[in-house]
């Protein structure tokens, strides 16, 4: 079956929104940073927790994709996306229009909160850039919009430096990869050390700086492509889960040979993304009903296609710091 993609209109929308608002979907910045307010994280510090907004954006991207996929094939989608560019000037309106499920928005906040707590419990103090926690521009890079990406990368770097960063802690595979492996060739004098929170946490657990607790007894792990093949962050999540007492089951295609969730094409080809996700879910289901994911894009795309009733959880929903004396197992 053939349908048409509003490719050009989509690219222009993503580019303009990222350049003007700092996010690929125009939203008010408090949507991105409000999760951190209750934690009272400092604004300045040499170690900065940088989320790149991906966790927070995914619920909105998901509803955008729902619109696009309902329209896949009709010419309306082009027109609509062109009109949508008006939205870039009115982020609040976008938020209202996209109206993602509140539970999804809440979930992203909970995950980030837990990540920050896990870092603190490991003895890694960190600051947070709040309204400067901008999107890293991954999509622009992936879609070949290099000039726009270079501009975004430069801006993100400057902002992080303004907050005093010399080390940046990232929380998802895409942002980690783009900062660690791509920014250096787009940003003159790039000098930030980029570490991923799973690396920090697995080291802390190994050195017994933190005691972890798991909220499920076993789960099948879905390695994200970017951790597994671009960053070789493979053993870290396994160590963390095992130290938390979670038995890790391996799907047929795992580690370096992992199979993509389909997420990267969800805006360009939503139906294709779903088919890939369904294929992966079947494979995961052979091992367990609990699926641990490590990336917000994997979570969104697998959840959208989850017709098998699997329980899909982010690793930061499965693992938490054990507070001494709280009477946990062991």
């Amino acid at each position: 079956m053939a349908s048409a993609s509003p490719l050009k209109a989509l690219l222009e929308f993503l580019r303009d929104s990222t350049l003007r608002v700092g996010l690929p979907v125009p939203l008010p910045m408090e949507e991105i940073y409000s999760w951190a307010l209750p934690l009272r994280l400092p604004r300045m510090g040499s170690v900065i927790l940088y989320t790149g907004a991906l966790y927070q954006l995914m619920p909105y991207i998901e509803s955008l994709t729902r619109y696009l996929s309902a329209l896949e094939g009709s010419r309306v989608s082009d027109t609509l996306l062109r009109l949508a560019r008006i939205l870039i000037a009115t982020p609040k309106l976008t938020r209202t229009l996209l109206a993602p499920e509140p539970a999804r928005v809440e979930r992203a906040r909970r995950i980030l909160t837990n990540i920050s707590r896990l870092l603190s419990s490991s003895g890694v103090a960190h600051a947070y850039p709040y309204e400067d926690d901008l999107y890293s521009g991954v999509l622009l890079y992936d879609l070949g919009l290099d000039d726009a990406f270079a501009e975004v990368a430069g801006r993100v770097y400057r902002k992080l430096k303004e907050h005093g960063a010399s080390t940046v802690i990232t929380v998802d595979p895409h942002t980690t990869n783009i900062l660690r492996n791509v920014y250096p060739s787009y940003v003159d004098g790039f000098d930030l050390e980029v570490v991923n929170y799973l690396e920090v946490l697995s080291r802390a657990a190994e050195e017994s700086r933190i005691r972890l607790r798991g909220l499920v007894s076993e789960a099948v792990i879905h390695d994200p492509c970017f951790y597994a093949r671009y960053l070789h962050i493979i053993d870290e999540p396994r160590k963390i889960l095992e130290r938390s007492g979670v038995k890790v089951l391996e799907p047929r295609r795992s580690r370096e040979a992992t199979y993509c969730c389909g997420g990267p094409v969800e805006s360009v080809a939503p139906r294709l993304a779903s088919k890939i996700a369904e294929t992966r879910l079947k494979e995961l289901a052979e091992k367990s009903k609990n699926v641990v994911v490590l990336c917000p894009i994997c979570y969104t795309n697998l959840s959208r296609a989850n017709k098998l009733g699997l329980r899909i959880l982010d690793i930061a929903e499965v693992v938490e710091a054990e507070v001494p004396g709280s009477g946990s197992p062991q």
Binding site: M1, G144, V268
Partner: protein
């Protein structure tokens, strides 16, 4: 990257490709695509054709933009072709207008 550099990168990587198809075994998009353009062996060839011709058909564009950049293919390639790099740079050339392409892109799925 400069368009000229991107173009020669694509041609060089394609010249390494033996067309053995081993990469296709790992590709998640290929089984749902209508033809080889939705898989790595096809994408590398499409990109090099586009550079040679200065233009690409809508069917070719669909192949280039449906790639997940997941790099599963590269693990299998005996010739070490940078498939992901080729696809991304082809997109860059398309975005810059260095390769001409139709506006509307058909997306076909099978299965």
């Amino acid at each position: 990257m400069e368009p000229g550099e991107a173009a020669s990168f694509i041609l060089r990587e394609y010249s390494k490709c033996m067309s053995c198809g081993f990469c296709e075994a790992a590709c998640p998009t290929l089984p749902f695509g209508p033809h080889r353009g939705y898989g790595p062996r096809g994408r590398v060839r499409l990109a090099s054709l586009a550079v040679e011709n200065g233009s690409i058909s809508a069917e070719g564009v669909a192949g280039i933009y449906t790639c997940l950049l997941c790099a599963a293919c590269m693990l299998r390639c005996p010739a070490g072709v940078d498939i992901v790099g080729v696809v991304r740079l082809a997109r860059e050339l398309l975005a810059r207008g260095a390769i001409r392409a139709p506006e509307r892109i058909p997306l076909r799925l099978v299965g």
